[in-house]
């Protein structure tokens, strides 16, 4: 008996032992790239030969190889003359180049399989049920260190096989650590990476941590305000990263105002806070409590939810925009539990004007979009790839895509009696969701089991809402806390926040789990979550780095400055300048955070600074980039120019009120940056203002220049 050894495999394939397409051949086609997107796995295949993407549909691929072209792709009488071997071995011209060396183990296995009559095999017993990867975690302290992974596939029939040479590997941070096609990891620099191991639809992720060049590091114990600090510090200590010091009161106050209510503290508020002699931690907690009760808290967070829920009049109509936005505000104002909010959205019926949550179905409109939006928004799961094929980086299959879509099959939207009104109702017929491949009716099925949740055929959307919002559906809480975390730390613990999958692991799983558990234990109380985050010492760290954390931007060892959002910047400019915002089609004295949708002020300042169009529910629509147009707008745009020179504005009032130069400068600094000028800043400003008196330029104009200069500084433009 001949024995063939598959690379490092510890499982021997016996020559003459029965082979199957499912268990033996398909892994080779996947590993050699035949089923990849650019090759035969693409939407149209290549050169008339189409395989399913990454082999997600073995039956389809088997038919293509064995039955298509009248069976000319294989030759049982002369197996070596099979096209399936001649092309990848380049014995015949092959656009994809050499993929299978003639005489190699993989070549010989396929040859043997053809000799055996090219059997398909049993897809049930041949299915991979589990991947076992060792080691489960990699921690190295030396740059350039290597580690070989070993991958064992467990099959439904109970057998096991070493598939190290056939598995696929990729690194999510190749600049930190890379992995080659044989599963050898090489660390390149200090940092973390996740290695994704794929084999026959199963995935496993190995975390790789490299802690290098940390000589002289010594952990300094720091105070922990709550469990967040415990989990963050544990990670930092492990990675030998020292957190920054606590931010000063002024730095904290400006930060927490922008993050909680979207606007900066007024000079009076800032002065009062700084003058408060209470212990810093206590007075910070007190201001957080006050901010959570401010109407601007509701307005600011309504902007975020309006982005996600696509509050946009091109989709919702003129009245729908206001109705839906007001429902969001109402929910936030009463701190409606998050699960109730989502249930109201998913089960909404009736008029989009009388029952505003029904607007959810006005922008999702059809079942597939409703399902994709629901999973992405409320579970952080992107199902869109599975519409056409099984998800390449996740466990979700095409069948699951349509099973889940079936929950929305009956949902329909029609015009209402009033202008712009639409009505959401349940269809009585023609509501079946059909599989695109064979038109079979796809029954509604949950994506995964959640205990104590029943599926009621007569109340599909109610069943889905119960499943989504169940406390036992961990993704519901996890996706929300992860999303909210990103609002305070510039990135999610899992990032992007709406792409939770095994191949995109969290940077701090323990922290994410703790936040998730806390959110569930507090009955999905959004204010509790926010309060917990901003009261943590981690949130209150300075943005200034030290030698041990300067390269860290994923472990929350220091605050990451964020450019103010378009609304924050617009409102901060007007509030600092004491100018009345000129916004059309909204009530008098409205701020940008009061604008219901992007149709208001379209094409202006807000759009320049990245206000989203609200065409999708992706956080990515809101841009935080920096551009030349933004720079020009800040330097000589009319928004700033008109605000600082407002006749009823702060500077005019200060001058008319008899403020001296020092008072003028101090007020301008507090209004723009939430702090008093430092000594050097004060001297410089005093010199500049004083020049005005003798140069024929008024003090007011000099003061306007100072405010303009501060508006153009990073200290103003960034929340830090």
């Amino acid at each position: 008996m001949k024995i063939a050894l598959l690379g490092l495999s510890t499982v021997l394939i016996a020559w003459g032992a029965p082979l199957s397409y499912v268990k033996d051949v398909q892994p080779i086609l996947n590993k050699t790239g035949c089923t990849s997107g650019p090759c035969h796995g693409g939407a149209k295949g290549k050169n008339g030969f189409k395989l399913s993407l990454r082999g997600y549909d073995p039956e389809f691929d088997y038919r293509a190889i064995v039955h298509e072209m009248a069976g000319r792709r294989w030759n049982r009488t002369e197996p070596a003359k099979s096209l399936i071997l001649l092309k990848p071995s380049m014995e015949l011209a092959h656009g994809g180049g050499l993929r299978l060396e003639a005489g190699s183990d993989r070549y010989n296995l396929i040859l043997e399989w053809i000799s055996q009559g090219a059997p398909f095999g049993d897809p049930v017993s041949g299915a991979v049920t589990k991947l076992e990867v060792t080691p489960g975690e990699v921690l190295v302290e030396k740059s350039g260190a290597e580690q070989q992974l070993e991958v064992i596939a467990h099959y439904a029939d109970g057998s096991r096989r070493d598939v190290t040479k056939l598995a696929g590997y990729s690194s999510n941070t190749p600049q930190n650590a890379e992995v080659n096609e044989d599963g050898v990891i090489k660390t390149l620099r200090t940092g973390e990476s996740a290695m994704l191991v794929r084999y026959e639809g199963k995935l496993s992720v190995i975390n790789v941590t490299a802690v290098t060049d940390r000589g002289g590091f010594a952990w300094k114990p720091v105070a922990e305000h709550n469990y967040i600090d415990k989990h963050v510090n544990a990670k930092l200590q492990r990675l030998k990263i020292l957190p920054s010091t606590l931010a000063g009161d002024a730095e904290f106050l400006r930060r927490v105002y922008f993050d909680l209510i979207g606007i900066p503290p007024s000079p009076a508020e800032a002065k009062a806070f700084l003058a408060d002699k209470a212990a810093s931690r206590q007075k910070r907690a007190a201001v957080v409590d006050r901010l959570l009760e401010r109407p601007e808290f509701v307005n600011h967070w309504a902007v975020k939810w309006s982005d996600l829920l696509q509050v946009n009049r091109t989709k919702l109509g003129d009245k729908g925009v206001w109705a839906f936005r007001d429902w969001i505000r109402e929910s936030l104002a009463e701190n409606r539990p998050y699960d109730r909010m989502v249930r109201e959205l998913l089960t909404a019926r009736g008029s989009t004007h009388r029952n505003p949550p029904a607007n959810f179905f006005r922008f999702t409109k059809e079942p597939k979009v409703a399902m994709e939006t629901t999973t992405q928004l409320f579970l952080g799961v992107r199902m869109v790839c599975a519409q056409c094929h099984d998800h390449p980086f996740e466990q979700w299959t095409q069948n699951q895509y349509y099973n889940l879509t079936a929950f929305f099959g009956k949902m329909a939207v029609k015009s209402g009696d009033n202008p712009d009104e639409q009505v959401v109702y349940d269809k009585r017929e023609e509501f079946d969701i059909l599989h695109p491949k064979d038109s079979r009716v796809m029954p509604a099925k949950f994506l995964y089991d959640v205990k104590n949740i029943d599926l009621r055929e007569d109340a599909l959307r109610e069943s889905l809402a119960a499943w989504v919002t169940s406390k036992d559906n961990v993704l519901f809480a996890k996706s929300l806390v992860n999303r909210f975390w990103s609002y305070f730390f510039a990135r999610g613990i899992i990032d992007p926040v709406d792409d939770i999958r095994a191949s995109n692991p969290p940077t701090n799983p323990a922290l994410l789990d703790a936040l998730t558990a806390d959110f569930r234990e507090h009955d999905y109380d959004l204010r509790h979550l926010i309060r917990t985050i901003v009261n943590s010492r981690t949130y209150q760290l300075s943005y200034a780095t030290n030698e041990w954390n300067e390269s860290d931007d994923i472990n929350y060892s220091h605050f990451l400055p964020r450019r103010l959002s378009s609304e924050q910047m617009f409102d901060a400019i007007h509030l600092a300048a004491g100018a009345k915002p000129k916004i059309e089609n909204v009530p008098d004295n409205s701020l940008a955070q009061d604008i219901p949708d992007p149709a208001v002020g379209k094409g202006g300042f807000l759009d320049v600074f990245g206000r989203p169009e609200r065409q999708t529910s992706c956080e990515c629509e809101r841009r935080a980039d920096v551009s030349l147009v933004q720079a020009l707008s800040l330097l000589n745009g009319e928004t700033i120019a008109e605000a600082i020179a407002d006749p009823e504005g702060r500077i005019s009032k200060l001058i008319l009120g008899g403020a001296n130069d020092r008072k003028l400068i101090e007020e301008i600094y507090f209004a723009t940056l939430g702090r008093s000028p430092e000594s050097a800043e004060l001297d410089q400003a005093l010199t500049y203002i004083a020049k005005g008196a003798g140069a024929g330029v008024g003090r007011a104009e000099r003061a306007q220049d100072l405010m303009w200069a501060l508006f153009n500084s990073n200290a103003f433009l960034f929340n830090r």
């Binding site: 009245k319 109705a323 004007h353 202008p419 009585r428 089609n585 909204v586 009530p587 008098d588």
Partner: protein
């Protein structure tokens, strides 16, 4: 000076001086309402409100003329002293002005139950009441506040609640023909919202809420437009007080002259309230007041048909009255009412349900017609409006259909009433006037427009004024069949909508007068018979700006089409023809002349031909004749054989105001370029014999084709016919046919087909004339 005609555009026109358009127009009515039993000064503001004006109104009270304010421009205002009766019903009452120059638009005056208060900001924009600090004080309750909303305006009113109590806040805006879509909020002393409402149930866009104030104190009423939009007609009235109100009613209608009792349902009523309705009225809708309420009354529909109440206690399938009306309701959530209707196969029926459109029912009806075995024949939830209409043909072997009624959203309850009727009719349509009133200038022309909503009928129609007085002429009103639009993407042409226009032209010396015109649409059915539907007048029309635009109307005023005569303008637009035949493929030059005004330029607009496919109106040539121009109506060989209207229009500017001047509509009929007229349509031939099929070719004078070649097709076996050719100058044709000795005997359907290969067009297109069918008997 040459004149250039433009299509689809309107251009300014320099007019001769001395022409006045002074038809009356009411722009504003101050105040918008009054408390019953009180006296007030009512001022109508607008233009053309001259000294001799007569006011037409049903306001329950007396009106005495007062002198206009000295500073008022002539005709700009008309003041009255109004004394409202103490027993006047709460409601909306129309006001119209009639002068020598015509009739005005209608505005609504509201009679209320509470003392009235005017918002100060309305007359003094600086008296802003947009914040808690500047909120306007309400001295006492109950009250009716009259206010206006400027663009993005917010009005706040401060009021005191002295003891725990429930108060109703109810806005009249859209219901009183304002373009405002109101929303209201109640704020506590700190400005925190404690209650709000945008659209009161069951329908409409006005707001209403009842709030239980548990703590005495200061509160605020916040009023704004739900879209913060900018509207010309921007008024609202808010009633604040403790009073009962209802939301729905059952039944929704009954038979004229028969005693009827109505249940008022929902709202803040703790139990349904029974009201006896006076049904001895000629009107279609009569108000059903609720004792002690400040709300507008519900409207009960009277009909002359047999009316019945659904036996709600009866389970199973109930009988549906053919030709009558069943008043039913979906009494509980998820209920499905079923009715049995005896029918015969091939019959055409129409089922009409009325519910949400009455404003007194929550029902969003879904009606389904099945056979008795449950096989669906047709199902609809609405059609161009709120309620469903279902025309259907009874399938073969079906002798009974089941009509089911349910709420589309699966709801139900006492307020889910409906009126259901089934009529044995082929098809139907509904006509609504888009013109609330018309003033025709002596010697001039005005237009009347109507919207036709098809309900299964897809053929041609004509709009017609039945009672046009002497001295006036009407033209147009043509509605082409649905197929003429040649819109192949139209999913259901039997349920499309068309707009049609009639022009009314007054003789130059016509006397000042008013009339109430009755407009009907008439469809002549192919198999004989006709459908005649009377157009429903909008009463008034308020344009709502923003969004996709919409209009507020008041159908319940039951006005037909009031007409007045305006002073002669001296400006006239005319064409020498009122009707023309156009052969398919022909370009027809239409000359139009403007008199009574010197002009720099003018525009013409065709706005009716859009109903017809393969039709173009081309820009005319430059004319050397002042005030005259030509435009070209272009057809091609695919233009459908139908009639359509063309409306020439000039838009002129005088003193900054734009005025439309119309010519009487010209109706075009598209006809074939030529037709074959055989002497007979039945021919006989014996085996071995010959036959001459003779006839004439009738050519339209404008048809440019040369030879017409005619041949017989679908001939029986053994029969041959030679083709005939008819030269352009000739008419007669003769086709020689022979039958073989063994030719197939019997009577056979044959066709005479023809074509004109050379049509004189550059492209040398071949024109195919209409086929003629005949019968050939071979013996």
């Amino acid at each position: 000076m040459s004149t250039r005609f433009l299509i689809h555009s309107t251009l300014a026109l320099g007019m001769a001086t001395g022409i006045a358009w002074a038809e009356p127009s009411i722009g504003k009515i101050e105040p918008r309402g009054g408390q019953r039993g009180k006296s007030l000064t009512l001022v109508l503001k607008g233009s053309g409100l001259t000294e001799g004006a007569r006011i037409e109104t049903s306001i329950p009270g007396t009106l005495s003329r007062l002198s206009p304010a000295k500073e008022a421009k002539e005709g700009a205002e008309l003041p009255f002293l109004l004394e409202l009766k103490t027993d006047a019903s709460v409601g909306l009452y129309p006001v119209r002005v009639v002068t020598e120059e015509g009739v005005s638009n209608v505005m609504l005056f509201s009679v209320g139950a509470f003392p009235e208060m005017e918002e100060k900001e309305t007359d003094n924009p600086k008296a802003s009441n947009g914040s808690l600090q500047s909120a306007e004080q309400v001295e006492s309750l109950p009250v009716t506040i009259n206010g206006t909303l400027t663009p993005a305006d917010v009005d706040l009113f401060e009021f005191a609640v002295r003891t725990p109590q429930k108060l109703v806040f109810e806005v009249e805006a859209a219901s009183a023909a304002s373009a405002i879509d109101p929303a209201i909020e109640i704020l506590d002393a700190a400005g925190k919202k404690v209650a709000h409402n945008d659209d009161a149930e069951p329908s409409g866009i006005d707001s209403r809420l009842e709030h239980a104030f548990t703590k005495p104190g200061t509160y605020y009423l916040r009023v704004h437009d739900s879209k913060y939009s900018s509207q010309k007609d921007n008024f609202y009235r808010v009633k604040v007080g403790a009073y009962p109100y209802h939301e729905a009613m059952f039944p929704l209608g009954g038979k004229r002259g028969q005693p009827a009792a109505v249940e008022l349902i929902g709202g803040n009523l703790t139990k349904n309230v029974r009201v006896d309705v006076e049904t001895q009225s000629r009107r279609r809708w009569i108000p059903v007041p609720l004792d002690g309420s400040a709300s507008l009354p519900a409207l009960f529909e009277l009909s002359d048909k047999t009316e019945a109440i659904e036996p709600e206690t009866e389970t199973g399938v109930k009988a549906l009255l053919a030709g009558g009306v069943i008043n039913g309701r979906i009494g509980v959530k998820g209920e499905v009412d079923k009715y049995r209707l005896p029918v015969k196969a091939g019959e055409e029926w129409i089922v009409v349900l009325t519910a949400a459109s009455t404003g007194a029912s929550f029902l969003d009806a879904l009606v389904t017609v099945t056979d008795s075995a449950g096989k669906k024949i047709e199902s609809r939830d609405d059609l161009g409006g709120s309620d469903p209409v279902i025309p259907f043909t009874v399938p073969k072997d079906v002798t009974e259909v089941i009509v089911t009624v349910e709420d589309l959203q699966g709801r139900g309850g006492p307020g889910y009433g409906y009126r259901l009727e089934a009529r044995k009719e082929a098809a139907d349509f509904e006509v609504t006037l888009l013109t609330p009133y018309v003033n025709v200038p002596a010697g001039g022309t005005e237009i009347v427009q109507a919207r036709i909503q098809r309900r299964g009928y897809d053929g041609p129609m004509r709009l017609w004024i039945e009672n046009l007085p002497n001295g006036f002429a009407q033209a147009g009103g043509t509605v082409a069949p649905s197929a003429a639009s040649q819109r192949f993407d139209d999913p259901n042409p039997r349920f499309g909508a068309n707009t049609s226009t009639i022009t009314i032209t007054a003789e130059p010396g016509v006397a000042p007068q008013t009339a109430n015109l009755r407009v009907v649409a008439i469809a002549e059915l192919e198999g004989g018979g006709r459908i005649v539907r009377e157009a429903e007048g909008p009463g008034l029309m308020t344009t709502v700006r923003g969004g996709r635009g919409s209009t507020v109307t008041a159908r319940w005023l039951e006005m037909d089409l009031p007409m007045g005569v305006d002073r002669a303008t001296g400006v006239k637009l005319a064409s020498p023809i009122s009707y023309a035949r156009i052969a398919q493929g022909v370009e027809y030059p239409l000359t139009v002349k403007l008199t009574g005004a010197s002009m720099k330029s003018m525009g013409l607009r065709q706005n009716v031909a859009t109903q017809v496919g393969n039709l173009r109106i081309n820009q005319g040539q430059e004319s050397t004749t002042p005030n005259e121009g030509t435009l070209y109506v272009n057809t091609n060989f695919a233009t459908p054989l139908t009639s359509f209207d063309f409306l020439p229009q000039v838009n002129v500017t005088r003193g900054g105001e734009q005025v439309n001047v119309y010519a009487p509509i010209i109706t075009f009929e598209v006809v074939p370029g030529y037709q074959i007229w055989p002497a007979a349509n039945q021919w006989s031939l014996t085996r071995g014999g010959t036959l001459q099929i003779a006839g004439n070719v009738h050519r339209e004078p404008t048809f440019e084709g040369g030879i017409v070649r005619i041949e017989a097709q679908d001939l029986p076996e053994g029969v041959t016919c030679a083709a005939a050719e008819v030269a352009a100058a000739d008419r007669g044709f003769s086709i020689a046919c022979n039958a073989a000795a063994d030719a197939a005997t019997g009577t056979h359907e044959v066709r005479l087909v023809s074509q004109a290969p050379d049509t004189g067009r550059k492209a040398k297109d071949t024109y195919k004339g209409p086929e003629v069918n005949g019968k050939l008997r071979v013996e």
